[in-house]
Subunit: 212 residues, 2 copies
Amino acid sequence: MEIAILLFDGITALDAVGPYEALSMLPGAQVRFVGKERGAKRTRSGSLALVADHTLSEIRRPDIVLVPGGPGEEALRHDPEVLGWLRAAHETSRWTTSVCTGALLLAAAGILDGVEATTHWSSFEDLAALGALPVHERVVIRGKIVTAAGVSAGIDMALRLAALEAGDETAMAIQLILEYDPQPPFDAGSPDKAPPAVLERLQARRRARTPT
Amino acid sequence: MEIAILLFDGITALDAVGPYEALSMLPGAQVRFVGKERGAKRTRSGSLALVADHTLSEIRRPDIVLVPGGPGEEALRHDPEVLGWLRAAHETSRWTTSVCTGALLLAAAGILDGVEATTHWSSFEDLAALGALPVHERVVIRGKIVTAAGVSAGIDMALRLAALEAGDETAMAIQLILEYDPQPPFDAGSPDKAPPAVLERLQARRRARTPT
């Protein structure tokens, strides 16, 4: 089972690494980190780089395609090489998946046209504008297309996929190895749970960045 | 605020990347990925590499020291350069922290002598043998020493640290940006919650690897 995870500059590292940890433990899994060019791809802060060992043209028919998100995603929405690779890989994939704003790239490739999907809570309008039908769920499975909400949701998605591919016992064993027994100190991980002041602070910061 | 995250070959990537995502959003945070040598450090499977941009000698007085775990940790338990760096950094740090079996490195450096700490559930005996006092909690805070349980526990630890450093509102904002509203498909993330058959399967695999 070949699993291709797309890397690019401006990636949110946890979008890729959360699912990597879970999916790489699937029986027979071969994870390939792919990029337009080989080499280090940096997060927006610049302080972390993940290495793409393979170019897109080397990994043409992965069983699982995983598209992480991050601020660098936007620069690829009109990139014919990346969009063409996604479309071609989707034709033969078992699962085509995204985490966070990775869904916007799948949508830009036309893969989510009229399909229910999710993304980071702050990007629902963008997702709709690109032709998908946004759904407020943590993991959305529609046929072979699986989209996860923001950043950390990729871990939950990967465990769902692991169960579908290898059964509940294997997925639970992976969860136990990762000691994924979450105990966040606050219950503030989604817009409907966070205190209004916290949500408003982020939305104000976002408005300040985005000229309307 | 300078945050040093140790990288090494055989690291568990999520141990480092989970806390990185949360801590890098702290006001004024500068995250430095450090290694014995600069360059790519690979996970055990070999398919993912994280890049250390700095050598140990370049980052001598970080405010936060974070030691991830992973199978490569054991090779460093007798490495005088790494242990010496940890001891020196701990002298001036605000927080000395570990995720998963990273605690075994802190213990090997003598930093956990007689100190209550946690690690991955499968490494409690090793942690005790190295002089620490194992505690079955997800995050253990004792003075400025903070240890997290296995792999994904680093995210919970980082949010606790964020709250201590920058207040609850900032920590909640970070949680909301990461959309950390966990919804694992199973409740199998700790040995006391996983079905006995799942736990026994992992323990049998572990016994097969470790000659007694």
